[in-house]
Symmetry: C2
Subunit: 396 residues, 2 copies
Amino acid sequence: MIAKKMVKLVEGSSVIRAMFEEGKKMAAEFGAENVYDFSLGNPSVEPPAGVKNAMIRTLEEENPNYLHGYMNNAGYEDVRAAIAAHINKEQGTNFNENNIIMTVGAAGGLNVMLKTLLDPEDEVVVFAPFFGEYSNYVANYDGKLVVVPPNTETFMPDMEAFASLITPKTKVVIMNTPNNPTGVVYSEDTLKELAKVMEEKEKEFNTSIYLLSDEPYRELVYGDITVPYATKYYQNTIVGYSYSKSLSLPGERIGYLVIPSDVDDYEDVFGAASVATRILGFVNAPSLQQRAIMACLEEKVDVSIYDRNRRLLVDSLKGMGFECANPDGAFYLFLKTPVDDKEFTKKAKEYHLLVVPGQTFGCAGYVRISYCVDYDMIVRSLPAFEKMAQEYGLKR
Amino acid sequence: MIAKKMVKLVEGSSVIRAMFEEGKKMAAEFGAENVYDFSLGNPSVEPPAGVKNAMIRTLEEENPNYLHGYMNNAGYEDVRAAIAAHINKEQGTNFNENNIIMTVGAAGGLNVMLKTLLDPEDEVVVFAPFFGEYSNYVANYDGKLVVVPPNTETFMPDMEAFASLITPKTKVVIMNTPNNPTGVVYSEDTLKELAKVMEEKEKEFNTSIYLLSDEPYRELVYGDITVPYATKYYQNTIVGYSYSKSLSLPGERIGYLVIPSDVDDYEDVFGAASVATRILGFVNAPSLQQRAIMACLEEKVDVSIYDRNRRLLVDSLKGMGFECANPDGAFYLFLKTPVDDKEFTKKAKEYHLLVVPGQTFGCAGYVRISYCVDYDMIVRSLPAFEKMAQEYGLKR
């Protein structure tokens, strides 16, 4: 009786559920401390203390009908103004409250923008490997997903392939940096090249192509890496941001969209995005979280904890002969598998290692390892990885 | 450049925006205390004190990564179990956590169910007058809205018209009691008749027709009125609930769906609704609010405050010769207009009265008056209503 479009998705979700149940069974059989679950993207670092204080203070001080009431669908104006000012300070941009729409996380923001922009059959370009949910989001609005094959040398977009896949029907390009699942951060040169390709195609086809920059991992970068701000390189850029990772609040569903005033048809796009927020049933981003965020704009999680995990894993795995993409950001390693990635994932399970096959992200021959886990679990897991390396004759 | 489907919606939203701006202008010109805004459905009664305490206690006591982290897309299991137990206690039902999905308000829940159930061109029946957003929600999934004309005698559904409008393509019937905009509460007899019509049509067409009972106003009833629980009268009932009004938390976006185990294709429907929650970009209902709600299941706003507003308005307006639907629930009066409702709305504005024309809800000849406002504003507004009554010669 359910919608035809949902049938396959329910099957897919049963598979995930089965995996999850299997993991629980393994933990029951071998002890939770002997199962090494690297499959989830649920932040392990605590939210900064300032976040809890801000929430409690907001609850103590604000008028409850104002704090928990309806506001403009785009969000509280003062919150949006404060976020705009914060971005301006950090990025030298020139945004104000009329460039910000508060969203139910980044997932909510992406859906709002795709609802706003896509007519049926419009094309949305993504770069493999990519977060699998993009294909569901695009399908929600009857768009057509166009996948640029992976460039496994650098995991930056393959510009030639990209250019060749843009057509007069291309409406949106989704970019995700720092990247899930590779951890790669797109360089400034990459952004410039991307912009050049898109500008040329806009001219060639006389169209507007919106770059949707999905940036939930923006603050999670290591060493001296910085993440260039995409609006400065390409005019028709819209940014989707979330506090899920930067403040470890994924369950709270709080984020925002940046819609710069100089994107094509700005007024219609901003107006339609506000309407889409309402009619998709979000109505508005959760109100307490909006107001608490305003008091936490300078906070972020202690990324040194993720960095310590990252270094231990990268050094250890490389020492065993594994190779991976440049893990400059997010909390993922994208590990090259000596055999088919689904086979590798299956074999890993025998060693109680849970990882996600690259095929899930449109990139076979790799697995994703999430290191948003306890450091001690990583330490305990290393002998298992070691045995995998031996099994596949990787040991140098 | 925006989606064609969005163009009209943006125009519509500009009209609302213009109205809102006009209201602000009137307040600036005549003083806020001399403008009587009865147009909004934003709760005016404070959330019960227990709500704030529950949120703060939850923040103080729970592990922050658990409290703010991802959980099952359907919501925390213990929260869902507690809500199921609460409904069972109140209604004598037999639900458990596998019948509850936490949602981003009732609007989120309705969208999740329509995504779950609707194939393109499937028909969704609503009873005029109805909350205008239903038409947008149905259009989101390419469904076809079928409107049962209003029965202005009782504002209960016209059963004959209803039966004649059900076809083999009818997939969902949306019911809303206590009703927005009429304030009418459907009686037990009405539910029995509704069920009878739907059961007969299911048999006739060999289909499953789901009754989606939208109940954000369930707790807002006055006098000795009770709201029958729809799952007890019709097997294929799914309930959409929200704490927006019962706890005055509309900005927080927290509610739930009840999907009883005996609806047709229960497993697929529940599974697909969980997936729809994820892929529509809600991902999950806000996590802190979920856990705080669990501690507030016995709380509700002080409805005597709304009741006092209601009695003042009803008695005063009836005394002036106005007529309205039976205002047993919600916080709306649906007032019969002696002239066209848009003309009446325009005239009302001359007296600084802001109301919403019935045509917005598919029912001309009436206006909606929201009494979720300050009592004193109602008192101050009465001379303006009095002048309207005189203007139209209503005074008896």
